[in-house]
């Protein structure tokens, strides 16, 4: 086989390897297949997700607020108020003084209100004299 023939064979091989990008629609089928793979993956995710519990533990039931706070039907109108009596009683208070007293008020405290205190303290006993203490750490 001549050198030219080998070169031609190499070029043919190149053309074959290059073929996916030489066609009129390169990679379209491959990308469509890859997209289908993504669809399959998403389906797997949905199936796994709805058939198993998530990592966090799920409650079986959740306490809710009392029914008064629910969004049930509200009353259409306010309840009617009971009728108030038209005449109030007049004898609520009795025997109250009718005027402030006018007598003179006291100006000083009574003299026997406070006890008498001693006017001096007894003297303390005298302490005994201590001998002189030696100097700390010696004389040096």
């Amino acid at each position: 086989m001549t050198h030219e023939q080998e070169q031609e064979q190499d070029r043919d091989r190149d053309r074959l390897a290059d073929e996916p990008e030489r066609g009129p629609r390169p990679y379209v089928r491959l990308m469509a297949a890859i997209g289908a793979g993504g669809l399959v993956a998403a389906t797997v995710a949905v199936v796994v997700s709805v058939s198993t519990d998530p990592v966090m533990q799920l409650p079986e039931s959740v306490p809710t607020l009392p029914s008064d706070f629910s969004t049930g039907d509200l009353p259409t109108s306010l309840p009617s108020m009971p009728e108030l009596p038209s005449d109030l009683p007049t004898d609520y208070t009795t025997n109250l003084p009718t005027a402030i007293p006018t007598e003179d008020l006291p100006t000083a405290l009574p003299s026997d209100l406070l006890p008498s205190f001693p006017t001096d303290f007894p003297s303390l006993p005298s302490l005994p004299e201590m001998p002189s203490l030696p100097q700390a750490g010696g004389a040096s």
Partner: protein, 520 residues
């Protein structure tokens, strides 16, 4: 060309301007981010109209948590953002109307015939800049408020963030290097990552918070509490999957619409999707580490930042990104929807299944390993990850491998054709360079040798040069496609860029490229 011989690289010339590509898709990008706002507004309306929960049960407390402060701030900023976006939209309309009028109107007596086109250019250049500023301003005003919650989570958990950054950074580098041939610019990868961290993560957090606040009002039934709570948890997982994947896919869509020139197939789609997923995973990890019990931090880190780092979020977003990448070359609108929809469906379905099944499996993990905590951690979590998202990891690796094989074959053809296309073409890519460009392992070895010899500057120049060559071949390959679109840049500009980087351009004035002997 002796790439490894001493002195082979001329001094790096000034970076030549990249080829200009028409940037359609801004309106579609704005429409995509508007859907995020619409989703938020739906959450708000559902919250307003949700029935009040009235029960003394402690179960209800988890649905009546106080509103988090970052969520309150997001709510305010979103309304502000809508106002700003409306004002900018009005300014955009006015500017466009004025620009149309200025283009249509005669320029008057300018003194010379040559001055007229210049005056017309001046009249349209400034409005174009204003239009562009307004468009990006609208995008920013609509999405930036979603960044508040992630920023609060990341800011209040800095130690956790610093802990996660090395693993996430390493994964992002790995994702970048998974582009064995032509790579998208690093800034685009970082933009995807940033979207995942701030916008995707923020949108997910906001919408999940909404569900927490209205879900129980609609679905909690005290007549059958067990079933209704099971339904709520199922819907909670489904809601989380939908909003998280939607938020991430919106970022992929915006980047795809704005930078279609770089996101040009399933490889770049998988890569940008993985970057968005990594960003989202970072936010989510830090957010969870912030409120779980600290004794669970090692398990969380092991799960989210080691074992599951390239699974779960990365896998789902990578599949969504593959759909966008595949849509690039589909001329039929229906086929584009099938490709994008297939990726999104896989992302949402996989996320939903992972959330539901992982929690159930985790309950039994201890029993599998006779309550040996170490074994349970080292073997149980990988096993659970394989069961839940292993299929999706395998799928995105399969697509990536298939895309890389097709890229190698297409590049081989294009590089051979470029090398054989005459003097000008042969200067951009020579025959011996083809084998090197088609071998990622040899290029990596060469990069390491150049880095040791010339340091970071030499390495950067080498990578930029080889990427320019691969970009030239990649666009040549794309031009042969059935669905070739108008976003493929001009071939001659790409070729000139390579020649300039090679030092063969007229401006650089460097010598001829050395012979092939040092290519290995």
């Amino acid at each position: 060309m002796t790439l490894t011989a001493p002195g082979v690289f001329p001094p790096p010339p000034d970076r030549p301007p990249g080829p200009r590509v028409p940037r359609h898709g801004m309106a579609s990008a704005i429409a995509v981010v508007l859907t995020l706002s619409v989703a938020y507004a739906v959450g708000q309306i559902l919250y307003w109209t949700a029935p009040d929960i009235v029960s003394p049960s402690p179960w209800v407390k988890i649905w009546l948590l106080p509103e988090p402060t970052p969520f309150k701030v997001t709510r305010v900023l979103l309304v502000v953002g809508w106002c700003v976006a409306t004002l900018l939209a009005l300014a955009l309309l006015l500017t466009r109307r004025r620009a149309t009028a200025a283009t249509a109107a005669p320029t008057g007596d300018t003194g010379s015939e040559q001055a007229e086109p210049m005056a017309r250019f001046d009249a349209t250049a400034r409005p174009r800049l204003t239009l562009r500023a307004c468009q990006f301003g609208i995008l920013g005003a609509l999405v930036l408020p979603f960044a508040v919650m992630p920023l609060a989570a990341l800011g209040s958990n800095l130690p956790q963030l610093l802990l996660c950054l090395p693993t996430t950074g390493a994964a992002l580098f790995l994702v970048h290097r998974a582009q064995l041939y032509r790579r998208m610019p690093g800034w685009l990868l970082l933009a995807g990552f940033g979207w995942g961290v701030l916008i995707g993560g923020g949108f997910g957090l906001v919408m999940i918070t909404w569900f927490q606040r209205y879900g129980a009002g609609y679905f909690l039934d005290f007549q059958r509490p067990r079933d209704s709570i099971r339904e709520i948890y199922t819907l909670f997982c489904l809601n989380g999957a939908v909003v998280a994947e939607f938020g991430k896919a919106a970022g992929i869509a915006v980047l795809f619409l704005l930078f279609r020139r770089h996101i040009d197939g399933v490889v770049s789609g998988v890569v940008v999707g993985a970057a968005v997923g990594l960003g989202h995973n970072l936010t989510e990890t830090v957010h969870y580490l912030g409120f779980v019990n600290p004794e669970h931090h090692p398990a969380q880190f092991w799960d989210r930042q080691v074992v599951g780092l390239m699974a779960a979020h990365v896998a789902f977003s990578a599949l969504a990104g593959a759909g966008f990448g595949a849509a690039r070359w589909l001329p039929e609108r229906r086929d584009r929807w099938v490709a994008v929809g297939g990726g999104l469906l896989a992302a949402v379905g996989g996320h939903f299944e992972t959330d539901v099944v992982l929690m159930r499996l985790d309950q039994s993990r201890g029993e599998w390993f006779s309550h040996n905590e170490t074994l349970s951690l080292l073997l149980g979590i990988p096993l659970m990850t394989v069961i839940t998202s292993g299929v999706f990891v395998a799928l995105y690796v399969l697509i990536l491998r298939r895309g890389l094989r097709a890229q190698a074959a297409g590049l081989a053809r294009a590089l051979h054709a470029e090398a054989a296309s005459g003097p000008s073409g042969g200067a951009a890519v020579t025959g011996p360079e083809v084998a090197l460009l088609l071998s990622p392992a040899r290029r990596l070895l060469l990069e390491m040798r150049v880095w040791r010899r010339d340091g970071t500057a030499g390495l950067r120049h080498l990578v930029r040069f080889q990427q320019a060559q691969l970009d030239l071949a990649t666009q040549r390959w794309h031009r042969e496609r059935v669905g070739a679109d108008s976003f493929i840049p001009d071939e001659q500009q790409l070729r000139e860029k390579v020649i300039d980087l090679k030092g063969l351009g007229g401006t650089s004035g460097t010598s001829e490229v050395p012979a092939r002997k040092g290519l290995s």
